[in-house]
Symmetry: D2
Subunit: 279 residues, 4 copies
């Protein structure tokens, strides 16, 4: 009953199309390795800018940070909203890093887009079709996370929703699927990277933070993703993880991130040499 | 890592609270057995009213019907929207049955609420927190479907989102979870019925149609749900299933529904006799 | 990739075959409702016989009890082995109840069969093909539990292994599948009952104990199973559950079991009246 | 209910123990990268020896090949049994490659061990405790595949079964877990590699063939496993995959394997340089 027909997919399939390369303020996603790093949520100007400068110094290409946080409980920190976006704007000015930030309500798309280089659709909203249609008309690139319960085909259909509204700039982000295993927060389905690269022309990146939910697994899985051919990595970094308002136990410190970046860049370079080109 | 703490749940837990009974135009949900029946989607006035009259004649308590359809593909029938709601209004007038209909966008809540006795939040929107907050201020009872990837605790947190906005009238609807099994569309987690009845004061109903996705399983699983203590059943009926624009192969005909209703009512009566009261 | 082809199934499919009724010492499984009750494991003669007499008095049809226990850890109680079987033999003599007991090693089949009315293949051994082939030549009826990770088709193939060795007496037992949900030990896939009844001629029973793993859910799910058309129930009862060497927190007391039996028999009778016959 | 307690694990945990390095006829597993390659099943002498020579030539360290095949259907090819083992022995003689072969029945362990350098326990037998105890006394290293439905803790408990019988030589092999996703045969849980490396002193290898079930995903996932720190790779190669009696569509040709080996060795060398040492 869950067979892969791909029958409704028109714009998202690879077929003879060229690889999509999303360009945001001079940064490309879809060629080489793009690293997007930053805190789970924007908590304060100081925390955000300090973290942004640290990830910039370590060689990140873009800054991530949430102003609207979809949280399991209504009593958890929900993000700073507009004030969070203003802080991100400052962080962009300070560092020059384009900003990736989540939008969770179709009513907010137009003004959130003013602050964002890339709009993120989170795992819980992957099939929020109203939101997908709206961001399809936002004029901004979209980072579309995989629903934690979604097949590749369902995910591609969600990209098709955005494409069919006229927005060609979509980045697919594998962030772990829900399985019976509880040692990790989710199970990172890394095979989605080469699978999607044969199915679609859209760039594919991975999120080692939310998928594993364990600090010690982030570095090896990031390296593994590079070897599997990912176009990018979206990773949580916090200047002082222990103080973070969310995901405190899975954010890298700036130092850890710096060490990882050295490895990632070096591995990426190694993989791009002739014999490792899997395409 | 997925442990049940229930720690953030304040209003939704049973504790010493009385069973919530949601009353819609004289129909109670949360005591006895309430049956909500109708087509997957409103396709035309004739189709809707004919089906509504048939389910009314068979003893249904409420009418279901979708005007906004969250569909996997952007190219599938997306529902009639406002025109669908107008048809539902007519069907309500003709039959007297209160209407349950889905809302998928926070921008639509206020006006969709004008047409609906109960607003449904679908499985893909269970953690659409913007929508949950908005329907929490809609003044209408909410039928909250379980996310197909959601634990009971996550689901209860979503009800907590609605409750914390001041809306006490929530009905939980188990509609199947996603598992490795593909014989059925989803796996109906019927144990959620007694589990939720011990955890929360909110009514719990089940959807045998979307959970099983197989016509032959709908009757036995509906009967099983009654024996398990469900407060209600939400079921798809179509005057001519083979012509339905969605879920064509899993809607009951009016005749099938009539036969099932006789059994359901009789079993419900039997279960409510002294020794079958599981509370 | 997990499509239902049923293509290799020859003997197990319903097609035009008559419903298989397994008869063990005068007790039928495959018509009406057969209840098999007893402790998780045989711990002592006193415990076993006391429990056996209690379930007999409450109306059970057969006795269950494990002498070989497949335990997650090598350091957990592994069962009394041959001594456990001797105790079961005494319990059979005392109560007249046929015994269902698990076999886990092909080397043990011939002599364990001497003590057993029915040989049980546990969930972890469903695809232990050596064992399946061996019990297919044991001359005893086989209670084949569903692998906690198995599709219906894979399960039916395992029955086919036994049938193809010449053993026609197989009872299928749904005991819960593994999902992401952790509130229950496993997720009872009750829809397997009507699904299997349309696919195969073999009797189908359910195990509410191992599937739910929660005392409070056993009664409602047992009643639900009867309403769904199960041919039987396999349930854990212990004279003093708190002292049990395994599954201490999910065994019914004799009193609880007695109360449940009254309900089960009454519901079963009700369901067998004309209009509730789902066949 | 599925919490990680690790409480019964005594011998398998890392703690202060040294990394186990399993040595088979001069080949180490547990340091560097060990590649085990060969056909799914032994079909004929010619096919096996030709394939063995090809994988040897490409740089494989050991030969895999099944003489006993656990197959979903009783009517599928079940392996050549003793004749298959004799062929493997010849292949070992011809190539010098130690042989990894599956054993599925405790009655066969002693004589299968005569032919095998390493005994494999397959995914369906991971919790076949009789078999585990028996191979714990076999005097041979054991390649223990993860149950497709098993948590890391359950898997480690199975290794504990073997260790507690006195056999210290165990290799853990991740081969994919069962999830809702059907694009791949299973979902390769690559995070198990670094997770196990922090939990246990046993070597950890991966099987990219059975986990992905797709030819095009084998190379990228093998490379990813190396980057994640795997101690080895177990991979299917067939001289003419299209003629294979099982897994015909997921075996590499000798040419494909040769190309992959070059990349694997080169990447492995790269990863072992200072900064990529994740320990």
């Amino acid at each position: 009953m869950r067979m892969y027909t791909m029958k409704n997919l028109k714009l998202v399939l690879k077929e003879n199309r060229e690889q999509t390369v999303v360009n945001v303020a001079g940064i490309d996603i879809g060629t080489g390795l793009t690293v997007i790093a930053g805190p789970c949520s924007v908590e304060s100007e100081e925390q955000t800018i300090e973290t942004a400068m640290a990830v910039k110094a370590a060689g990140a290409d873009m800054l991530r940070g949430g102003a609207f946080k979809p949280r399991t409980s209504p009593y958890s920190f929900q993000g700073l909203g507009i004030n969070g976006l203003k802080i991100l704007k400052k962080a962009r000015k300070e560092t020059g890093l384009p900003v990736v930030t989540e939008v969770i309500d179709p009513r907010d798309v137009s003004w959130v887009a003013e602050f964002a280089g890339i709009l993120q659709i989170g795992t819980r909203n992957m099939q929020n079709f109203s939101l997908l249609k709206r961001v399809g008309r936002s004029g901004r690139p979209i980072l579309l996370k995989r629903g934690m319960y979604s097949t590749l085909e369902e995910w591609l259909n969600c990209a098709e929703y955005i494409l069919s509204e006229g927005n060609p700039d979509i980045i697919l982000c594998e962030r772990g699927i829900r399985t019976f295993e509880t040692y990790t927060r989710n199970t990172l389905d890394l095979s989605a990277v080469p699978a999607l690269k044969e199915l679609t022309h859209l760039p594919v990146i991975i999120d080692p933070t939310h998928s594993t939910g364990r600090l010690s697994l982030i570095a090896p899985m990031s390296l593994a993703a590079v070897a599997a051919g990912t176009h990018g990595i979206l990773i949580e970094v916090h200047r002082r993880p222990q103080d973070a308002l969310c995901d405190a136990d899975q954010a890298l410190t700036p130092d850890m991130f710096k060490g990882l970046m050295t490895k990632l860049r070096s591995l990426s370079k190694f993989m791009q040499k002739g014999q490792y080109n899997e395409s």
